[in-house]
């Protein structure tokens, strides 16, 4: 009896751990601070199979696009989905078949297969993980359907299995950050001053961390008066960001700029700066900048704590549509395509931007 109960519980535990594993894989486009997914929103899942009958897909001159989305894991992801839904409308000449994979690769593979069966014109995938896609991509290739990737890359031996990849350029984000700091210091008349910087890095090895650190390092080389005192990982969390900043403040008396590789770390760093009796933001002693541009970052800028935040743009829809139009016209497209990413600082009308922003 006891053994039976135990084995039943074991099975339950296994099932639970599987769901947990499925959700955490791969690093999300908007860095680790993201909330991972649990929501089992069944209503969101439009199973592609019963979404539309196959015959309908070819009707008229609408271009049919199947989008296999990761799932609803964060504001960033929701905005990404919205971008596709609002771009691929019937008014624009598209028919979008949307599939929510609930963070499971097997669901995405199933969705791609059903897109192939329905003979869609294009398949767009935001892969949950990087590996294990070759077979299903071969199938799509044999069926002659071009595949476009969004956000995360796929690790396949043959590049020709997909047509193009659309996503954020983390190195570029880091460089934009460096340029912004240079300009900001110039405006303050501190362009030639000795500037001490520290970086609170993301989770070491995450693509957002690697790219942003690299981009900033490129800019650091251009300014001989900038000095990077220290870099530590805040693991994309507010708590660690605070702890690391506490230590920085005790180690270095004169910090001019704090670069946080996501917004949440910046919130922690700001608390640590205030607790040490210093001030930050546009009117303070220390300049704090961060990446991602989540909603709370706007609130922090409006409160005068954060100087600037550099965007990780989730609006991939228009760029994918552009690629599809080019392919329709028989033109060739670049394999790697970065979306445009901007930044926000306290000189802008943040409240109205915040109202308009989808995420």
């Amino acid at each position: 009896m006891k053994k039976k109960v135990l084995s039943a519980l074991l099975i339950a535990a296994m099932a639970l751990s599987m769901t947990a594993c499925g959700s955490g894989n791969g690093d999300s486009g908007s860095s680790g601070g993201d909330s991972a997914p649990v929501s089992d929103d069944a209503e969101d899942t439009e199973d592609a199979e019963d979404a539309e009958p196959a015959g309908d897909a070819d009707s008229g001159d609408l271009i049919t696009v199947g989008y296999a989305q990761v799932g609803a894991e964060s504001d960033w992801r929701t905005a990404n989905t919205e971008s596709f839904k609002s771009t691929f409308t019937e008014e624009n000449g598209y028919k979008l078949i949307f599939d929510d994979a609930q963070q499971k690769q097997e669901n995405q593979i199933k969705a791609i297969r059903s897109f192939i069966q329905q003979e869609v014109d294009y398949i767009v995938v935001a892969p949950v993980v990087e590996t294990g896609w070759e077979t299903v991509l071969e199938e799509a290739k044999e069926a002659g359907i071009p595949v476009i990737l969004s956000d995360r890359m796929m690790d396949v031996s043959d590049d020709s299995l997909f047509e193009a990849w659309v996503g954020g350029n983390f190195v570029q984000e880091g460089e934009t950050c460096g340029d912004w700091i240079a300009e900001y210091l110039e405006d303050q008349g501190r362009g030639d001053e000795e500037i001490n910087m520290v970086t609170i890095q993301g989770t070491i090895g995450a693509s957002a961390q690697v790219g942003r650190t690299e981009g900033m390092a490129n800019k650091l080389k251009e300014h001989s008066n900038w000095k990077m005192l220290d870099m530590q990982s805040g693991e994309f969390t507010q708590a660690k960001g605070q702890e690391v900043m506490e230590s920085f403040l005790k180690s270095y008396d004169d910090i001019d700029v704090v670069i946080c590789e996501n917004d949440n770390e910046a919130f922690g760093a700001i608390d640590a700066i205030k607790a040490a009796g210093k001030s930050c933001g546009p009117d303070g002693d220390i300049i704090v900048v961060s990446f991602d541009s989540v909603k709370a970052a706007f609130e922090s800028m409006i409160a005068g704590d954060l100087n600037a935040t550099f965007e990780c743009n989730p609006l991939h829809g228009p760029r994918v549509a552009e690629i599809i139009q080019k392919l329709e016209a028989g033109e060739s497209v670049d394999k790697i395509q970065y979306v445009d990413e901007s930044y926000f600082d306290t000189s802008m009308d943040l409240e109205s931007i915040l109202e308009e922003r989808a995420y």
């Binding site: 519980l9 535990a13 947990a20 909330s35 609803a72 070491i204 507010q238 708590a239 702890e243 005790k250």
Partner: protein, 351 residues
């Protein structure tokens, strides 16, 4: 002289304290200013303060974990997940279900109470599985380890829930007019209350006897099932409280990250404190010292500017050294060497 040294080194807590001092001594060499403490904005400020402040959650967890280990010869690996759940519950109660709030939707005390209650209830759930159903502790608590964060996500809709009210930050920063960090005070209260409870009643002895021999203590009339259940419930209570502090520090509930990997640190704290993971005799003081040692190590590595990607390596090296120093195998080796030396000396004298 030699004798006093021997009595000191043979004391149970000698090695854990020695290890803590060893970690701190590294700083004395590399950064003499490590030990300076000043008052800034009416609050104590310095690296040492960081250590006792940041270790608070771990200290509270280690207290609960010590009892669980002692009574059931197993570990509760769900403590980190329970922290996330309690933080999620607290923030959700305080915001009234919103994802961000600038004023309380319900009284602060209600949020605290709900969070600790939920933590204790999950502890009770673990307790029933382990004590009543005799499931192996690691398997039983694995359920909450995996499900806990999921529950926390469900409560917070998978988003970070912010409570932007100044009084909510108190528990994670400092009580007004009081220079010592609030988390430290809370942790000391928990430690003191637990030690008092265990020593002033027979509970401490019961827990040890159940851990040493469940059957034999059952024969003497101790309700082993009840004792084990209580330790898990108490561990849940401690986790709930830690979750509150962690949440108050960041005035939000981050279901993904609050208490992440804390279960491992809590178990390590118990082990570094010289407690056997096989159950039985325990020392709360040892575990508390263990918890401070772990945090001292982290803060030290930050202060020494070790780059992030190398920190785990240094941590591993230090932990290996500490655990080896305290292992029974090493103690035997030491004894053997001492005997050999004594033997050689005697031989010399005889000649």
């Amino acid at each position: 002289m030699n004798k006093t040294l021997k009595t000191i080194t043979s004391k149970r807590l000698f090695l854990p304290i020695f290890c803590l001092i060893l970690v701190l001594l590294i700083n004395l060499v590399t950064r003499p200013d490590f030990f300076s403490i000043e008052i800034r904005d009416g609050v104590l400020y310095g690296f040492l303060i960081d250590i006792i402040n940041r270790a608070s959650e771990l200290v509270i967890l280690a207290v609960g974990m010590t009892l669980v280990v002692s009574a059931s010869a197993g570990t509760d690996i769900s403590v980190g997940a329970i922290m996330a759940v309690s933080a999620a519950v607290c923030c959700n109660v305080l915001t009234g279900g919103e994802r961000a709030a600038t004023e309380y939707a319900s009284p602060l005390i209600l949020g605290f109470f709900a969070a600790i209650l939920v933590g204790t209830l999950i502890g009770c759930f673990n307790g029933v599985l382990v004590a009543k159903l005799n499931i192996q502790p690691m398997v039983a608590t694995l359920i909450m380890f995996t499900a806990g964060r999921g529950i926390a996500q469900l409560i917070t809709d998978g988003q970070i829930t912010y409570v932007r009210v100044d009084s909510y930050k108190t528990l994670g920063s400092s009580f007004p007019g009081f220079p010592v960090p609030a988390p430290f005070i809370v942790s000391i209260v928990v430690v003191a209350a637990t030690v008092l409870l265990l020593n002033k009643t027979a509970l401490g002895m019961y827990i040890q006897s159940v851990g040493i021999n469940k059957k034999a203590s059952g024969l003497t009339g101790i309700k082993a099932v009840m004792i084990i259940f209580l330790t898990y419930a108490y561990c849940g209570f401690c986790s709930g409280l830690s979750g509150l502090i962690a949440s108050s520090r960041i005035y939000s509930a981050d279901a993904n990250n609050i208490g992440l990997n804390m279960e491992l640190d809590a178990i390590l704290a118990v082990a570094i404190g010289g407690n056997s993971l096989g159950g039985g005799r325990f020392s709360i003081a040892g575990s508390v010292i263990g918890a401070y040692t772990i945090q001292a190590l982290t803060t030290t590595l930050y202060a020494m500017h070790v780059s992030s990607d190398q920190i785990p390596v240094y941590k591993a090296i230090v932990v290996v050294i500490i655990v080896t120093l305290q292992s029974p195998g090493f103690a035997r080796m030491r004894k053997a060497i001492a005997q050999k030396k004594a033997g050689a000396a005697e031989g010399k004298e005889a000649a």
